[in-house]
Assembly symmetry: D2
Homo-oligomer: 467 residues x 4
């Protein structure tokens, strides 16, 4: 961002509507601490490299510290006539220490300055989001802990398929968010790069020391190429892609919360603290929060498309179109954090309805696969066994039986003389679940081990504030 | 939007993070006037239909008028503890007139209320945008007026193709925005529908008169179906689609402004009032405004995808996900209006460089097609003529000639004995342009007629404030 | 599209990977009939305007007719070495009539030729889609016809809100598709424009007659501006926007089909002819078709974003990026038509379960709003009545009653002495529905009138093949 | 589940339009080798675990090998009546070995089978893409190698900013593709997971050994959770996000190729083998390939949005919507590979125009920043120096001088007595570039070192076929 800086080059002032159009102050104020932090590192380097007078450097540092304190104390208000946060910092610095403030811009361009601010901001937020993700996974682990013995229907196509432990279902979301976590860590490493020293695009003729500022700022790497350093938005695009996958997971979970709390399912009840009523219908208890969680996906996909579109086809290096990155990113960060604020307490506040879940697991022939498997174990190829059981299901449905167990022994003997009725008894939901003993399956021991490993992994993650 | 209304149904208060998550006050405050206008019509109907006491209706009306005046005078501040604009109006009304305020919600739900507010808002903004579009087209017509005699290269593939009048080029944008205007008018008709009276989703058991409120509000139609009335977002999606095509046009125009003001093209200069400098490079005069105009396309495409995603797969009728429509729509309206604020003065402030344009029109064999046409007129099938001229271009390029006119007569006689050199003289840019006389072509009279018709059409459009 | 035509200008052949990259034959073959139709009109005009010899014109026409017949008879195969459909037509024509085929390209460019082909194609498909939309609405009207007396719960937030007639619910979709139809008609008018005669971008120096070809082709308008004519993709973008809203409607309907055919809802059963089984679970009857209908929305949104992205920031006039329009459009047309092929028979094949719907309508206090309304009719402001009923709901829930009707008279007398139990009896689902008598509401007469008007509107629409 | 398997459960056949709608054979045929490979591992495990008879297992293996050979030999044609690739393999196997083929489906579902096929396919393609990326970076390194001494203007806002080495510019793209490569490697690790054994969703009751099949297939990990294993599309979404960022890079590079080969820039010439002509304009040499490379971004963004939309809000586990993943993914893979096929030869075939680049680097005061820096070195705060130089630029522009060097000594002495004219001489483009000596800057040694490190990194990457 070259800002709206105007040198003596211009004979006329900026048109009022242009000034408004270009102004970024309404959204970039949140970068203040990152901007000051970056400037502190820059001025320290200028001093160390003897590029500016030591005294001026010290006064600039003190002025910047003052600004930071004013901001933290809430007494620094943005001034609209200074069109962005950077001009606000510069302007305030000049008020505080006078013309010497001008030294701060030595050997630095608005381009590398803004690029640095965004990196610092994103790393700060990325760390916070990682910690919040951990909290979310903790709440899923807790849900899994209390639902290990709850049997429910596992669904495909929203039709009961095979019984599963409810813990197994929660842990599926645990796996999704675990992947989100590892992708965020990979991103973090890639975002952890300093552009400071790239100047406008080509480096600077001063004897600066970009490695020194990088180290002062605690960043892991330096960009390899200064043109790239000022025009790279990959780490922002990757973050938006990250967030898009994350909200897909959230939307799937939210959909299930809406479904499961419906009158028709009644698998769970959302806490009163996370439900709302209706202005007109007194009986309503609406899953507004879950619906809005589901709907937030639209916003994030939109921001992703927004920045992809902005970047498409831009020649090197910096172009002002790139200023459009900020609002998309800031709203994404805010939205992700809001989602992560609300999901853990909402999940902890769920009421589970095990009898209803058990009943649903029994219904509708969810043991049919296992009956076919049982037949296959007698040496019949699975395809044929599958077809035979399908016919039995149709006979039951046509005769009004809701499960194999309901069929009277004499009817069964007539329909399926080769299938002992005792086999049916062995195909109760819990038995079916426990028969599945692969490491990732829904058997009792399998799920217990999955939970154990998940919890162990969670426990070794850094807590909030330590990333 | 059912709001966060809570009846006696709930034993516990809303979780703090849920309240924040659901609150819409930070963005829906702008609907205040529409909300009050809708409520005024509703209460007038309740009174006329004798559903509520006449005296209460009058006091409610007066209270609402007071709120509107307070809002217009800037003395009404949003209160965060009332989570949206509707609760703010209700709460303030109760402060003003007491418990009787409760009558206002009779025979109305938050669902039809919010749906109405959005219709009123969109029609208000749509009318303003139409008027701004007209201004933009006026400025293009003015540019065309002053560039009818300016010849420039017409481009395909960013390579000079055939000479065109610059007026013709501006009028191409005129055609695009003209289509935008007609699409907006079609949209306006479709958005001009009243949902008031649909209640939560099914109508209301009161003897209300939705036709009466529709007429009071000056809306053209009533929804056919109350379930649809509260869950329809088509007119918002269509508006976002409208805006997306509009910003495609803007981005194309902006791209040309950036290209044409580059040092390499130098076809135009942007006014100082619409250019910016660099914080570090004193010589820079940057087309920031044009770049940002180009980049704004991302934001709008994003909002379109956002609302499409939100609506995808939602069962009937209202779901809280739909609350996500507002920010996408509001930012789109703001962005379109900002673009339309800045484009007309920016275009009026352009400096055109006719000599440079003329020179570019001459260069690089832009008369080659016409030479082929000329040969074809002698009876040679066009495909062969085309190939022959292609060979001549290659000979010129290999020999270092930049145009046919540069080739010495004796060389030409050797290369192309069958092509009289005089033909070349007749193929100067202006002649080439004027030879194209179809109604939509670039000939002098054609362009003059296009401009005349465009202007006549513009002149019969309603001015601002009259749509 | 400038094609991969190579004049004598080039010393080297196209790189093999470039030829593959640029080739469009694998997808543009479907334009053959439109291309030939356009060429027939063009050659008729060339003859009439005496631009080419009459004899050549006639032989070209006959050759083109032959090609069309070959194509219709399925004996014309695309040849990959001719990289697109246009080169295939040209090449075949030359085989048929020799060098005279070269005259066809006189006064025409690939740019206006391809632009015309796409207009002809889109109008052809648009007409077919309109007719299919009518069929879909017919099947919804038929469903509404048979479900006028079926009472079901109307939902908001996927929670039962108020009872509605099922016909009312189907007619809500009728309204959505009716809007789609009118939007398609508006689009049709705007797409109905001829670019032929625009040449490469500037018109042509020949005395052509674009009005004549426009009329021959049955197109309504001529473009106003030739630069615009060859670079306009608005009608394609608008169509993609149209299709995106259409698939939102489809996805909502499909979601309800999936929900309603779940074991938990059991409101409907999909026909066996529209359900599938599982390779492993013999009992499964999966709503695959409905799920895939829901999922198709992604594809269409994607195509919309695709073409918006392509067009963003392109300078005038034609650029090869625009070639990317075709696959997005063709797949959208195919997908919309496939959806419209399958939805009407699928809907006609639904089994409705009225007892289950009625039962669901009774449950869960869906008469609570009306009880509050009833109380309000005694003069209590609605807000207070709403709160009072909310408390009663909570008492019921805490005491295990599923509806007000279940509460014993003595308990009710204690809880709500001011509310006569008789009121409750009057609040049965059908009564509640019938109490809603606004024109768009769910009352018996209202719905009957809605259906009547919808059917009358449908009956006056043109049938397939007549648009 | 892609199949349309039907057990005895169904009384009626699938509706013809439904069969067409659900069929995936037209696009999933390409999975054949992956499907067979997966089945070979599965049957080996069934045999080892003694789940099916050893003899049957051997005959199945031989049959599968036969199918693979038939496919490789091109003699296996897809049969449309078998609706997908999996049914084709099964059907063909049954033809080859009879009813025993039915054993293959023991302890496996279509869900884990298809999930595995996609993992195998993606890993295969991902490896190929990585190798192609390496080739692309090699060609950029080669370009950088030959342009280390070429000075050109570095641009911001498409305005000359500061002189840079052309090698530095190419290496900026090198950095982008290097990030792409590392992101692809991270993705590869995450995609490298086996779902086989998850069954339909819950595991299977057979004593299978998923670790054994994982190892046979050479996959790195096993999913942690079987529900997740069959419904996870994260690795596909992440790949689409990867490809979207990649095509942003490609579109930026392509935009510069288009710009630079324009008549106005003339920085480069595209090879004839990568340029096309016009069907009507014989002089045209169009950068079609570069334009199409730029336009391909739309397609990829579209596919990303498509799959995000599909996945949004789906409940666990498998739903048929997910079948929509395939076409989006396959076209993305094809497009990325086509781009990577064409870019390296295209870049190798560029003609660079150093004199023109040098001339452009001199023009338009691109040494202004350095003049301001020079003044600042005398102790003037940079902000003031910047303003002073801006005024000098304006004086020059107003007086018609194109560079400081053009200003006569006496005029300069009058305008800027404090600035020795000798300073100007020291500010020639090459000197300016070389003054920038940070590791990532444009100085001679800096760029040489960047190239060296880039090449060293490239040289240690695995070659094609070894990932």
């Amino acid at each position: 961002m070259s800002g709206i800086a105007r040198s003596g080059r211009f004979a006329r002032a900026l048109h009022e509507s242009a000034a408004t159009f270009l102004s970024s102050l309404r959204f970039d104020w949140r970068l203040l601490q990152d901007d000051v932090k970056g400037s502190l590192a820059h001025v320290a380097m200028l001093k160390k490299s003897r590029i500016i007078p030591a005294g001026a450097a010290e006064r600039i540092s003190q002025g910047l510290q003052t600004i930071l304190h004013e901001w933290e104390a809430g007494v620094l208000a943005p001034r609209p006539d200074w069109e962005d946060v950077h001009m606000n910092v510069e302007g305030r610095l000049q008020e505080l220490i006078g013309e010497e403030a001008g030294y701060l811009h030595t050997a630095r361009s608005r381009n590398d300055q803004v690029a640095l601010d965004m990196h610092l901001y994103m790393l700060r937020q990325g760390g916070a989001i990682a910690a919040q993700c951990r909290e979310l996974m903790m709440s899923l682990a807790a849900l899994a802990q209390r639902t290990q013995e709850v049997i429910m229907p596992g669904y495909t196509h929203l039709q009961p398929a095979q019984p599963v432990r409810m813990a197994h279902h929660w842990l599926a979301y645990g796996s999704m968010f675990q992947r989100d976590y590892t992708r965020l860590m990979d991103w973090f490493e890639r975002a952890n790069v300093s552009p400071l020293g790239a100047g406008a695009l080509a480096g600077t003729p001063y004897p600066t020391d970009p490695e020194y500022t990088r180290e002062l700022l605690g960043l892991a790497h330096l960009y390899h190429n200064s043109l790239d350093a000022v025009s790279d938005r990959d780490y922002l695009l990757e973050f938006l892609g990250w967030a898009s996958i994350f909200v897909v997971h959230v939307s799937r979970l939210a959909e299930e919360l809406v479904l499961w709390s419906s009158r028709e399912f009644q698998f769970i009840a959302l806490g009163d603290a996370f439900s709302t009523g209706s202005s007109i219908m007194p009986q309503k208890k609406n899953p507004d929060v879950a619906e809005l969680l589901r709907g937030k996906s639209g916003r994030i996909f939109g921001h992703l498309i927004s920045l992809l579109t902005v970047m498409k086809g831009l020649p090197l290096a910096y172009n002002s179109d790139m200023q459009e990155d900020k609002e998309a990113i800031f709203d994404t960060v805010d939205t992700v954090q809001a989602i992560l604020d609300i999901l853990p307490p909402l999940l902890s506040d769920l009421t589970i309805n095990p009898p209803r879940l058990q009943e649903a697991a029994v219904a509708q022939f969810s043991n049919a696969t296992d009956l076919a498997d049982r037949i296959a174990q007698e040496g019949v190829p699975f395809r044929q066994a599958h077809h035979r059981v399908g016919e039995l299901v149709r006979l039951c449905v046509e005769s009004g039986y809701q499960s194999f167990a309901e069929v009277p022994a004499e009817v069964w003997a007539q329909w399926a003389p080769a299938i002992p009725a005792a086999w049916i008894d062995e195909l109760a939901p819990q038995q079916l679940a426990d028969a599945r003993q692969q490491s990732f399956a829904t058997g009792k021991d399998s799920v217990a081990r999955q939970l154990e490993e998940f919890t162990a992994w969670l426990n070794q993650l850094p807590e909030a504030g330590t990333v």
